[in-house]
Symmetry: C3
Subunit: 371 residues, 3 copies
């Protein structure tokens, strides 16, 4: 513990500060990494061999609607300046939606995603208003609540309103390389994660935030592997590649406050609860609700998001408003998502579910000989 | 429109400037992104299942010859300093060639690409001289003309001189994952694009340029999807993944001048004309000329490049010299490319076309059981 | 030569310097690229179609143990501050191990990699102490010795101690896309390499280092292709994609000292000797030792690492201590690796070798129809 406690002190303060434009240019690069992560989330969800291109298309369609609409609403209605903070804010809104559609990918027709992008933006802005205007002193620098919890519970609201149970009967076969794309996405998301959680932090918090984020990540790798090995004696790659990111989800709300050791422990715990959610909670929820969280969003973003939202209370940085933020976000996201789900229910059902043939000339384009 | 007009004002100016070295170090990162994009262009062209490695190899061979040769010519003949601007200039020359070979990939033998790299550099330097030495006041910060138009028309000059019609008979089957690599490349190119168009801009233009570029990109996603859906009721992924990048091609010449709303509209128009070029112009050109633009370079880089080159005139930033730049670039690139095509015609024909077996022990290495 | 000599002068000095925090924030980005490269090394090793996920899992397990343990040892035992330099130092330690396991991937059971991560850290710290504490004036800014040589010879020490000859009988079939992932990894490693070799350099050396690194890289592409074509008339993609990185390995120790022309020549030579090592030395070593360097680590990191370590002597920047550093690193790494190999030999043998089925439910998850 004496050794570990030496892990405690944050990084030494830096003498000289950076000026405004320099700080903004660094945000250019961290912001760009957030857009990079947005695209990688699509590849994290590409494990269904017959449904890869459709995931990428859905990602691009919701990005193409939610990002400019958020910027338009902020500048046009709320009178914000189109600054780098706002660009990153738009990327946060879009990536939240890209995570959220993981709950109901394959449940709706492709064209519907344009409507999804339009309907999501006001929902997201309500959650944003609730957390940072209505409430006071909520800690969420890295988006544990605003990004991950909103994504999981808004998405769950949608499937509960949509109730397309037919998708449960669809096959979801994988292939070596569809799963290898998931490995690629997971491993690169881990690398870029510090840019995401520090994107809106003051410059002096960026490097400590980087150390904390990577330490949380490697903690999750360890517990995810050990729990899967102890309980199952085999590693399900679709649990492992997801749950190892839970440390990044959970560190979000305290990335600028936790010590390195605390961050590593947050990662250990987050990886463990995410893995257990995949193993036990996922099936239980499916049985109880009769709907299927296609990409297990709740197990990676929902539960670890709640953990992350509550960590600042445990560490003594935040009080009651933080708890209200967590509970209120679940309620608001579920309700607004449910309404969107009911609207989507009125649209024509997809001709095929979890299948690229719904949108693409996939039959012709899939090779008939192995490659 | 009142809402939209609020989109108009550019970002607020930043008080304090960055010093020389800081600006250069930021260019290090944007420059590195340009090299990243150069590699991604190879993966954008990897949809032919039996011809993936050959595309990567050709990309590396032309990079390995054109990049150092351009630096050598600039420093050795023209007496330039080996600065970060010159390194980025060399990356621009190399990526222009990597785009250009897309027109005739599979038409020539692998070893010929070394000669292609050598012959391209003087052609590119003539175009560069024409645009920025011979002409005055040409706007092309983001390479709509120098990179995209030169690539498309120089490449077309080459196939017109080469006239290897046999390649038209070759199969070009795809597979799920060969096309998934194209999705990966297209989505990451979109993310990195702001670094490319702002690589040589003064620091105060970088963040507005980022906003403009992403807005142009999402505009193209929207029109590309809608036109394909309306006209075809199915989304050809090889048209979609290409045409959504047209906004980035077209914003190049006015990235530092257009407003966010103008940028979004440029993206909408660029995506539309690129999609229509793939659907109608591509086949028409193939019939008329009897040669095949393997990767449809003309539809993504040629037509949207012309649009981008002319946009500054439409927006009132540029005058006649801009129009001369566009027309002159077409002529110069076609003529110089044609000469290179005639030279390449003298070389031995490839043993196999559009097939990795031309260069690699592909038969042995392709798996015989599915994976 | 007159032309070439114009390549000689280093970049012009920059007037104004960057302040401490700005320099650290630039290190954030170069450091992040090092973590990116760590993940890409896994994909560089994914060419065995039936053993892709296992390579990624092993990479993450050794990363998850070695990175925090190195930080803990440095801060806890040696009293270092947790600065950006230390984070990058930890990434260097971890990437060295990720390269090293390439020598014995598939030789041990998955869970053993956790022990490997723990045992590697003290070995690495001994090598680090030897090079920079015990010896004086050793030049190795870019890790030719500390990263690449330690990886190769420590890894070789391990297989010599482990002596699991059974793995030699295992099939190692590739597929089109398992090899395409290798192309992706190799090409992106090339792009990010300047961040790696300049990660710990003073800011004024970063841009010259970028030019030197890319010039070394393109030099290796050229000689690797030409030698394979001349000697074999066919390009083995698993030799090509590896050997083209030799320029980056070899430039490491003199990235801040060599001229651009010298760097290009270093790359030409490094690509040549790496290719020849793959073609001739690899098989000879396998016959002599009876053990198999699974990923040919010695051919890319060992031999070019020695070359890189000796280059500063050839260029007249370093003297005897540099030679002692090279020889001593081979001895220390082999001995310490050998001890670790003997320990690993005591652990249960893997149920399957070079096969994802050892750790994953691979049989069920591999698609039965082509994709």
């Amino acid at each position: 513990m004496n050794l570990l406690s030496s892990f405690m002190p944050a990084l030494q303060p830096v003498a000289t500060a950076v000026n405004d434009q320099t700080a903004e240019l660094f945000q250019f690069h961290r912001g760009q990494d957030v857009f990079f992560m947005l695209m990688l989330v699509a590849f994290l969800m590409m494990f269904i061999r017959r449904y890869e291109w459709g995931v990428a298309l859905a990602t691009l369609l919701v990005f193409a609607t939610s990002f400019p609409l958020y910027l338009l609403a902020q500048t046009g209605i709320l009178g914000a300046d189109l600054s780098i903070e706002l660009i990153i804010g738009g990327a946060f809104a879009a990536i939240t939606l890209v995570i959220a559609i993981g709950v109901f990918l394959g449940h709706i027709s492709t064209i519907s995603y344009i409507l999804v992008g339009v309907l999501f933006v006001p929902c997201y802005m309500v959650a944003e208003w609730f957390l940072f205007q209505f409430l006071d002193g909520v800690l969420d620098a890295g988006g544990s609540i605003l990004v991950h919890m909103v994504a999981a519970y808004w998405g769950w609201g949608v499937i509960l309103g949509l109730r397309n149970k037919a998708v449960l009967e669809e096959p979801a076969d994988t292939s070596v390389h569809s799963v290898s794309f998931v490995w690629l996405a997971s491993m690169l998301l881990m690398v870029l994660w510090p840019s995401f959680v520090t994107a809106l932090l003051p410059t002096e918090d960026i490097i400590p935030g980087m150390a904390n984020t990577y330490l949380a990540m490697v903690g999750s790798i360890l517990t995810t592997y050990l729990i899967l090995w102890v309980l199952k004696r085999t590693i399900d790659p679709l649990v492992f590649t997801y749950a190892i990111l839970a440390g990044g989800v959970a560190i979000g709300a305290s990335v600028d406050l936790a010590t390195p050791l605390q961050s590593w422990i947050i990662g250990l715990v987050a990886g463990a609860i995410s893995t257990l959610s995949f193993l036990f909670l996922d099936g239980w929820l499916r049985d109880k609700t009769g709907v299927w969280d296609t990409m297990g969003v709740h197990n990676l973003h929902g539960v670890p998001g709640i953990l992350g939202g509550l960590v600042p209370i445990v560490l003594g940085f935040a009080g009651g408003s933080q708890a209200i933020a967590v509970v209120g976000t679940i309620v608001i996201s579920l309700v607004l998502g449910f309404i969107v789900g009911l609207i989507l229910r009125l649209l024509p059902k997809p001709t095929k579910m979890l299948d690229d043939a719904e949108a693409f000339p996939a039959e012709e384009m899939r090779a008939t000989d192995p490659a």
